[in-house]
């Protein structure tokens, strides 16, 4: 224990003497949390639309008015020429085109069914998908409005628009996040990723740095045991990691008003276990590689898996089965699930037992591997 205390003192001194890295460790996650927490949404407030109205009737103008009035579409330009509209789309002057065919109103009255063409710039497919949902919804509402006007007999007793005789009243409820607030979802996840990145990078660069500088050999000839050595490398960054997380959660609460329905003690208990995993993986890398350069590229590769396959940016459900397995293996995924469950859904200890147990097993395995891998003999 005494040895460990001295080793820890050395590590903390080393960290204190490199103020640049401390500044970076605190400032970067926080600045990024503030910026990225605002960026990660899939709701488009306003986008530019080109109108090609070949009918120019009250009905077609009504349709365009509804689109503009929704606030989702800003009518950037209008002309009867589809060629001009396509040009604007190609140059990214507009992101969508609405094309009302000639005789729109006449067909609407005569046949009751009429097509409207919507063209989106699917170069940015996510945006195109969102805009299509908005436009489809607005057009359906307009059709219902017209039904009311033209066939009052079909209107229900309450005056609500109906599509047919029998009406199924489908009510949608989004549980845990009824306003579909993206920040409640993204901010905890981004915070976890940032803390993980810091932890993995610090861990992986640490031992190999002493290897490169030659100071590891000096430590190897001392009576320090392997476990003590790994513990001395682990504990300082573990403390820093928890501090960054606490700081990040405060920002998440103050700047983004993230709900905190469950117990914060539970979050930190899980974080304490989780950081052992993240740092342990970093330290394990550090014992395997020969140079800091290699350590960095391995860290980069692992962090890319963490970032892109933990279900934060694209749903795990959509991934091919083998990728879902990789996602299941990622400790980040389990911690994000746990954080979200506790903060957003208010889950208690028993509800998050599974991810917590998974993290504990990971921590045990990874730390054992790191201690085993670290050999006091240099080859």
């Amino acid at each position: 224990m005494r040895t460990l205390r001295f080793l820890l003192r050395k590590e903390f001194l080393q960290i204190r003497r490199d103020p640049a890295i401390m500044r970076m460790l605190v400032a970067m996650p926080l600045v990024q949390l503030l910026l990225l927490g605002n960026a990660a949404t899939f709701q488009i407030r306003s986008s530019r639309m080109y109108v090609v109205d070949e009918d120019n009737s009250p009905a077609s103008r009504g349709l365009v008015t509804r689109l503009a009035a929704s606030g989702r579409f800003e009518i950037a330009d209008a002309s009867p020429s589809m060629a001009l509209a396509n040009r604007a789309l190609l140059h990214r002057d507009v992101s969508s085109i609405v094309h009302v065919p000639p005789r729109f109103e006449r067909d609407l009255v005569r046949d009751g069914v009429v097509p409207v063409q919507l063209v989106f710039n699917a170069e940015d497919g996510a945006a195109a998908g969102i805009l299509r949902t908005y436009a489809t919804r607005i057009i359906a509402a307009y059709a219902a409005e017209l039904t009311d006007e033209m066939h009052p007999s079909l209107a229900s007793a309450t005056g609500a628009p109906v599509r047919g005789a029998a009406r199924i009243d489908a009510r949608a409820r989004g549980w845990f996040n009824p306003e579909l607030n993206y920040q409640a979802y993204m901010v905890p996840g981004i915070l976890v990723l940032l803390v993980t990145m810091v932890a993995t990078a610090l861990g992986s660069m640490n031992i190999v740095r002493e290897k490169e500088l030659g100071t590891l050999e000096q430590l190897n000839v001392t009576p320090v045991t392997r476990a003590e050595f790994i513990a001395s490398k682990l504990i300082p960054f573990w403390v820093i990691g928890l501090a960054v997380l606490a700081f990040g959660l405060t920002i998440a609460r103050l700047a983004f008003a993230i709900p905190m329905r469950g117990s914060l003690a539970l979050v930190f208990l899980a974080a304490a276990v989780y950081l052992l995993v993240a740092l342990g993986i970093g330290l394990w890398i550090s014992t395997i590689v020969e140079t800091q350069q290699q350590a960095m590229f391995v860290t980069f590769a692992i962090n890319m898996v963490y970032m892109l396959m933990s279900g934060l940016f694209t749903p795990i459900l959509s991934m091919p089965v083998w990728a879902q397995w990789i996602a299941q293996l990622s400790p980040v995924k389990h911690f994000i699930v746990l954080m979200r469950a506790v903060l957003v859904k208010g889950a208690g200890f028993s509800a998050v037992l599974v991810p917590l147990a998974v993290l504990a097993v990971y921590a045990a395995v990874v730390l054992t591997l790191a201690v085993r891998q670290y050999s006091k003999r240099t080859a």
Binding site: A135, M197, S318
Partner: protein, 369 residues
């Protein structure tokens, strides 16, 4: 100039001698583009659905079978009361629930209206709203079916949506250009940042600084070998995009290669600047990795549309080099446009490159003084 040549040769030797690292540098970008190119998808299937049906009848069974058909939904449980839902959702064993009111079929037949509630786990608002839309569409189609049976239908405006440049919204076409930009940014910046900061840490940079080489020559000598390596990476990842993912290359391949070259020089210069302002390899690498990975992913427009960001944040995305390369590569690959349409993006990248190179040279002059 011969000093310069000798320096470049030395750098090449450095790279070629460390076979292990060289292999990592050549294979890592390709491996990542392949891995994530397959893994990143946004289409949803296999939604775990719980049905709450207090009094099953012909109509509820019919609507349930509509949900079960099509493969989008997987019914994982049928309950009699909504009380059973909360624990299932909290433990993450269900994504969505359809709750019928008691006597659903009877009410539908006699009163002409019946209620069904669709509960979605909206913790992930994106998946949540998509699932909500899919489930509502199933109910709506069923409703229209009943209406058609009764022969009473109102006015319908049928929107025909065309997805120009990517008609099927192929996930691969959306993610692969972004992935290429992300991987090239980080690998290029890390490579040059490491090579410089290592010399700094080992003290060999001092030797270089007192040599007759001028700062810009040192930087050029550092960047050139990695430019070759970076370009090899461009060829492998674009090859993967073409042969493996079948991303269309509608525009000029030559232009795309030229733009890629411009882009990697920009990122390499960024790495040099990072190395110049940091004092150790560790700081440089953590700075490069942390400073570039999440911002390029989130602010570059690879996953989240820039149009969906708040107005104050949208100009901030302009400093992300990856954003411009994504616009360029999507433009060439998917839209088939040329320099006539992409000159602005190209110019911005070129200006970025110039600024970064000047900053890098300046940062080294300061150290000399």
């Amino acid at each position: 100039m011969s000093a310069m040549r000798g320096f470049v040769v030395k750098e090449f030797h450095h790279i070629l001698r460390d076979r292990q690292t060289l292999l990592i540098l050549l294979l890592l970008p390709l491996a990542q583009v392949l891995l994530f190119g397959f893994a990143l998808r946004t289409d949803i299937e296999g939604v775990r659905l719980v049905v709450v049906d207090p009094r099953p009848d012909a109509s509820t069974l019919e609507l349930r079978s509509r949900f079960a058909a099509g493969g989008l939904f997987r019914i994982v449980g049928v309950e009699a009361t909504p009380a059973a839902l909360a624990p299932r959702f909290q433990a993450g064993r269900a994504d969505q629930a359809v709750v019928f009111e008691p006597g659903f079929g009877e009410k539908l037949a006699h009163e002409g209206r019946a209620q069904v509630m669709i509960i979605t786990d909206a913790t992930d608002p994106n998946t949540g709203s998509a699932m909500q839309a899919y489930a509502s569409a199933v109910v709506q189609r069923y409703e229209q079916e009943i209406a058609a049976r009764g022969g009473r239908q109102g006015v319908r405006i049928v929107p025909e949506a065309r997805m120009r440049f990517n008609p099927t919204l192929e996930s691969v076409n959306l993610f692969v250009p972004g992935l290429i930009a992300l991987v090239l940014t980080i690998v290029s910046a890390l490579m040059s940042a490491i090579s410089l900061s290592r010399e700094k840490e080992r003290g060999t940079l001092e030797v270089l600084l007192v040599s007759p080489l001028r700062p810009w020559e040192i930087i050029a000598g550092k960047v050139l070998p990695y430019l070759a390596l970076g370009f090899a990476n461009v060829l492998t990842v674009l090859g993967a995009a073409w042969f493996v993912f079948r991303v269309p290359f509608r525009g000029s391949v030559l232009l795309l290669l030229g733009e890629s070259l411009l882009f990697i020089v920009t990122c390499l210069s960024l790495g040099v600047v990072i190395a110049a302002v940091t004092s150790s390899q560790r700081t440089a690498m953590i700075g490069a990795l942390m400073g570039l990975m999440m911002p390029t992913t989130v602010l570059g427009g690879m996953i989240f549309p820039i149009a969906s960001m708040p107005a104050w944040l949208q100009p901030v995305t302009n400093v992300v080099p990856g954003k411009w390369f994504i616009l360029i590569s999507r433009g060439i690959m998917l839209k088939g446009v040329g320099l006539a349409e992409l000159w602005q993006e190209t110019l911005i990248l070129a200006v970025m490159m110039a600024v970064l190179l000047v900053a890098a040279v300046k940062a080294f002059r300061i150290r000399l003084g």
